[in-house]
Symmetry: C2
Subunit: 340 residues, 2 copies
DNA sequence: GGCGCTTATGTTAGCGCTGTCATTCGGTGG
DNA sequence: CCACCGAATGACAGCGCTAACATAAGCGCC
């Protein structure tokens, strides 16, 4: 009949309340809620009714403590406003779907000290695995990760040795291939427009690879321009204007990523410079914006979704940390586009 | 001297281990780690040394259970790839900084059933507050939220009644003001390009407001075109092409948001249509991309960061759920731009 | 010199679950 | 007819921590 309104005041419904109402023991309720062990059909019915009636919500803190397993996966990314990381998270979510695991996302703001603090904070929740963007950590952070014993995937790059598992692509190689591609297309007077790489050191790796490719062909980078801040469309636009003011003879400009390159295209459109014909532009990432441009961006597609998905699949596939390290190359493709 | 390597094998270091090593009771260690209560300087020293030596990481599951307070704030957003939500999260993180609270982010994919499941899942972690995008939930979801007793902020929109606290802007009003603004500029032949609003019903509210403003001036929406899917730059570009193929006499097109509108600008640039002179374009959100365009987008700036920040500040300002509901309008500004 | 007060530390009981090891009960086969 | 089995359920201890209430010691003060 009428639900009792005053019941369950303040301190919530517990397993004991449900058990009492359903006339079974707590453990039976617990088993039913977790589909664990054999349960009589009528008992299950009765218990589920009691759960519904009381509006019982399990307490995962208690559950996790009792079973020493939280069903949590810690994830640390440097940013969420750089769209590549939400895309990695998309892959993670997709792989986590239906496993009963839940991701806990933390953002380090491209700061290793913050990252270290977040690692400590996340480990305190006893996650069953961790996914971290990048291979670069403080010594303390690395020690905590190693000491935790949980499986660790370091994602996005594979240019140095991971703690346990690395999933991503070689940014140095991508930069190198960019150089070779552009050289192959006949470009010789290279400019580079980048952003702050003390924080985004993968951008630096790509730059290094690019320079190495050019060096092999005895071609020098004519001019370089870096924005002291995070990458953005606006910064790319301004920096291209700046580099072009300094040098009029460039035939190609390589950008640190697609955001910057999109800004570059905007500058060209505003200044009456025809992409490719007058000046070639090249990005990195293969973002949707760049491909929707009137002149689709020539760029390198990194497989962000796949990176996240693969990392989780591998991690959950083997729960014990293995002896050796593993490195998975998710590769990349050069997109020819219309700007180079 | 040498640290014992074999110690602490498998099941981690606990408070008891640290206490033993530091020759104090567990509670003393606990107090020191939480800066709680008076502690002698030498004791603190000794304990901290023991913590360092053992590499102790507190178990928050146990801590939370014992103190029935997790220091967690649950956050549910429909998407992370739509940049506005990461921006809200930025505000949330900023307000959470230094409070000891941590946000747990979950993504509903614009699906109310998923949202309901996430609410159940997050409540199981006994968060001390919840932030949810939107006012629209399943009945069950609403019941769980109400029943939980925790403070709830529903963010982004304030067009209907919240459970506890709403922080955002009136999308209907924003749409209305958009209409009035454009009418004031002399536009009379309106087109609308949108995306799937069964999922994004705030876009629908803005549309309704727009239509209402036009109706007041006895102006009709000449043509409408909606993409059956999430908003994106590419979709905006294609849809504008499509609507222009159907009608050649439009003098302004209103887009469901800046992503779509940016795509619209791209189409214009590719098709030789001069924004504003030949066709006015109007967006919503005030994203950076739109403002970096050769012709900065005319749009409405919603204050996403402020929304997140304000929600958390209010929530943590008063931990008990108050009697009445509160609605905070973070407002918006019309950005004149160069496209309308 | 005993009262109250502050500072520093300890003891005791759980928080709400789940792992482990019973226990009960109706078949089953030798 | 009884040892034996599997299916269904329960009793109990304890996960690792912290709130709440002691306890102990030092200090000023009338």
């Amino acid at each position: 009949m009428g639900a009792k309104r005053l019941a369950g005041r303040q301190r919530g419904v517990t397993l004991a309340d449900v058990a009492l109402l359903a006339q079974v023991s707590e453990i039976t309720v617990s088993r039913i809620l977790r589909n664990h062990g054999p349960i009589g059909a009528d008992t299950r019915e009765r218990v589920m009714a009691a759960v519904r009636q009381t509006g019982y919500v399990p307490n995962r803190l208690a559950g996790g403590l009792a079973s020493s397993g939280s069903k949590l996966v810690g994830v640390i990314v440097p940013s969420l406003t750089n769209i590549v990381f939400p895309e990695v998270l998309g892959g993670i979510r997709s792989a986590l779907e239906g496993t009963g695991f839940q991701a806990v996302i933390a953002v380090s703001d491209y700061d290793l000290a913050t990252e270290q603090a977040l690692i400590a904070s996340l480990l305190a929740w006893k996650p069953e695995a961790m996914v971290i963007a990048g291979l670069d950590h403080t010594e303390m952070a690395r020690a905590m990760l190693v000491g935790s014993g949980v499986r660790i995937a370091e994602v996005m790059e594979i240019d140095s040795q991971p703690i346990d598992l690395a999933v991503g692509l070689s940014h140095r190689q991508a930069g190198f291939d960019t150089g070779q591609y552009l050289l192959g297309r006949g470009y010789r007077r290279f400019g580079y427009v980048g952003h702050d790489w003390t924080s985004d050191h993968r951008a630096k790796l790509r730059y290094d690879g690019l320079v190495a490719a050019l060096a092999e062909a005895k071609v020098a980078l004519v001019e370089t321009c870096r924005f002291e801040g995070p990458s953005s469309v606006g910064a790319g636009r301004d920096m291209l204007a700046q580099i072009l003011a300094r040098r009029h003879d460039l035939d190609v400009v390589v950008f640190s990523n697609d955001d910057m390159a999109t800004g570059g295209v905007f500058h060209c459109l505003g200044a009456g410079i025809r992409p490719k014909q007058d000046l070639a532009l090249f990005g990195f990432n293969g973002l949707d914006v760049g491909q929707a441009l009137p002149t689709p961006l020539s760029t390198v597609r990194s497989n962000r979704f796949l990176i996240g998905k693969t990392a989780i699949e591998k991690l959950l596939g083997q729960r014990e940390r293995p002896e050796g390290r593993e490195i998975i190359d998710t590769g990349y493709d050069i997109i020819t586009g219309a700007t180079a």
